[in-house]
Amino acid sequence: MKILVCIKPVPESEAPVRIAPDGKSIQTDPLSPLRMNRYDEQALEEALLIRDTFPDTRIEAISVGPKRSETVLKRALGMGADHGIHICTDIENDPVPAVVAAWVAAAARSRNYDLILSGMMSEDGLHGQVGPLVAEHLSLPCVTAVVGIRITPGKATASVQRVPAEGLRDLLALSLPAVLTIQSGAQKPRYPSLSNILRAKGQDLEIIAAASLSRPESFQQAVRFKYPQKTRFGRFLEGSPQQKAQELLSKLKEKSFLA
C-alpha cells in the first residue's frame, strides 16, 4: 500500500508573529525554525502505524513551502517516511489552501496512492481545507477530522472513526483510494530514530519548483490584518514564578475562591 502524507511547515508556536507595518501581511521571523504542523505529525504517525501492521507499505511525505521547509521533510524521513517531496515556493508567505491543494494534487495525480493523509487543519492558517480540496481534485472520497483508522486486510477499504458532534463517535467505512484528514490519535507521534536520521541525512528530497506548476486563481485577498480586541484587560503578573504564585494566591483569597 502507498500512502502520501501532507505536511505543513509552521513557525514554532512561541516564535513571535506580527503584522507587517503596512498591515497587509503577517510577519514571521524568517530565521526562526519551522516545525511540523501538529495535526500533520499525527497524520504521519497514523501512516507509520499502518506500516507497522502492513510492512509492505510505502510512505511519502509532501510539503509546500519555502526552501527552509526542507527541515520538516527531513524530520518526516527521520520519523520513518520513505521519501520526501518538496514543492518549493520562492516566497515566505503561505499560498491560500486552494493553491496548495492544486499543487499537491498535481504531484499526487500520477503516483497512485491508496491513501492520502493530512492534518485536519494547520495551526497557523486554521483553514481546514487542503485535504478536502485534494480529494476533490482527484475525485476521491474524503473524511475529515478522523480520530482512528483501521485498514482492512486486503487493503481495499478502511474503517475510520470521527466525532461528528459532542458525545458521538461515528464509525465509517469507505473504499480506497481516499483522503483522510487527521484530528488526533491516541498515540503520541514517535521521535525520529537515530537510524532514520542517518538515513535521512544521505537521502535527497525530490524537489518540484512551484513555479513549474500551474497556479489557480485564489479569488480572495486579505486586505488587512489586525490584532484581536481584548475583551478583558487582564493583568500580567510580574516576577519569579514564586512571586507570581504568591500574588495569584492573594488574588484568589481576596475573591474568596480560596480560604
Binding site: I26, D124, L126, A165, G167, T231, R232
Partner: protein
C-alpha cells in the same frame, strides 16, 4: 433575479442544532451589507418538521430536501446533492456552520461550485463598497479581513460570534419540499456510538481548572488535579486536544463540541485560546490563564495572565498555598 444567500441548516437526530440559528443571524447581518433574499436549506432523512420550525421561528423561506434511507450525515452525499442544487439556486454566498459536520463538506462543495471557500468567519462588514469577512490565524493571535473575488463564496461561520435574535417574525416563511434519490455514497456509516449520558460535574462546578496541550504529557495532568483539589467544589476540564487524545474523558471537554460552562473561576493551563475553546468558557466569571507563550490568544480574555511554564508555576502555586495553611 437577485442572487440569494443560502444557509445550510445543521441538524442531528431530528433536532436543529443551535449553530443553525447562529448561521441565520450571520446571514441577516450579511444581508444588511448586501440586500438579497435568504433561503435556508435543510437536507436529510425527514427534514419537513424541522423546515417548518425554522420557517416559523425566522420568517425565512426554507427548502427541505428529503433523502430517504440515510438517517445520518454523510459528507459524500451532502456534496453530491448540494452541488447541483446550489448551481440551480445560484447564490452569492453559501453559509455553513464551522462544526465538524460543516467543515467536512464545505471545502469540497466550494470546489464543485467553482466557489472560493473561507472558513472560520467571525464577522462581516462593508468597507468602501466591499464586503469583508474577518477570520483568525494562529489560534486567534491575528485576524484578517478577507475580500472575496469569486462569483460564489462558501463561508463557514465560527461559533459564538453571531447571536440568534429572538424577535418573532410577522409570518412564517414558505416551506418547499423536494425529494432526491440521493444515489450512492462512497462513505457508509457502519455504527454510531453515543457516550453514555453522564451528568458532567463540570457543568455545575463553581471552579474549573482546565488543561490544554501545554500540559505536555498525560502524567502531568496529576498537577492539574492537585491544583483543582485546593478549591472546594471544583472540577477538572480540558481542551478538545486533551480529550480526543484520551487523556480526559470526553464529558470534561469544554468548547464548541464540548460543554459550555460559566463557573465563577476558570483557570486555563496550557490552553492557546482558539475560538472553539473560547466558545465554551468565555462567560466564566473570573479567568486566570497560565501559558508559556506571552502572545497566546487566551490572554485576550483573561483577568489574570501568567506567562510561565505550567510545570514550574503550578507546583510553585501549590507550594505557596501549602505554606499559608
Amino acid at each position: 433575479m437577485t442572487r440569494p444567500i443560502v444557509v445550510i441548516a445543521e441538524h442531528l437526530e431530528g433536532k436543529i442544532r443551535p449553530a443553525t440559528y447562529e448561521l441565520i443571524a450571520f446571514a441577516l447581518e450579511l444581508r444588511q451589507a448586501m440586500p438579497a433574499p435568504i433561503k435556508v436549506l435543510i437536507l436529510g432523512n425527514d427534514p419537513e418538521d424541522m423546515a417548518h420550525l425554522i420557517a416559523a421561528k425566522t420568517g425565512l423561506d426554507v427548502m427541505a430536501v428529503q433523502e430517504s434511507n440515510r438517517p445520518r450525515y454523510n459528507g459524500d452525499l451532502y456534496k453530491n446533492i448540494l452541488a447541483p442544487l446550489l448551481s440551480e439556486l445560484n447564490p452569492d454566498y453559501v453559509c455553513i456552520a464551522q462544526t465538524p459536520m460543516g467543515m467536512d463538506f464545505a471545502p469540497g462543495l466550494a470546489h464543485r461550485l467553482g466557489a472560493v471557500c473561507i472558513t472560520g468567519v467571525e464577522s462581516v462588514y462593508e468597507d468602501r463598497g466591499r464586503i469583508l469577512f474577518t477570520r483568525a490565524f494562529y489560534n486567534g493571535k491575528i485576524l484578517a479581513d478577507i475580500c472575496v473575488q469569486a462569483k460564489t463564496a462558501v463561508l463557514t461561520v465560527a461559533p459564538g460570534f453571531f447571536k440568534p435574535s429572538s424577535a418573532d417574525p410577522a409570518a412564517p416563511g414558505r416551506v418547499e419540499i423536494r425529494k432526491t434519490p440521493g444515489g450512492e455514497a462512497r462513505i457508509r456509516t457502519v455504527e454510531t456510538r453515543k457516550a453514555p449520558a453522564q451528568e458532567s460535574e463540570i457543568a455545575q462546578a463553581p471552579v474549573i481548572v482546565s488543561a490544554g496541550r501545554g500540559v505536555g504529557k498525560k502524567e502531568n495532568l496529576a498537577l492539574i488535579f492537585t491544583l483543582a483539589a485546593l478549591f472546594p467544589l471544583s472540577a477538572v476540564a480540558g481542551s478538545r486536544w486533551i480529550c480526543v487524545a484520551g487523556w480526559l474523558e470526553h464529558r470534561r471537554q469544554v468548547g464548541l463540541t464540548g460543554a459550555v460552562v460559566s463557573p465563577k473561576l476558570y483557570i486555563a493551563c496550557g490552553i492557546s485560546g482558539s475560538v472553539q475553546h473560547l466558545a465554551g468558557m468565555r462567560d466564566s466569571g473570573f479567568i486566570v490563564a497560565v501559558n508559556s507563550d506571552p502572545h497566546a490568544a487566551i490572554f485576550n480574555i483573561a483577568d489574570i495572565c501568567i506567562v510561565e511554564d505550567l510545570n514550574i508555576f503550578i507546583p510553585a502555586l501549590i507550594e505557596a498555598h501549602r505554606q499559608k495553611t
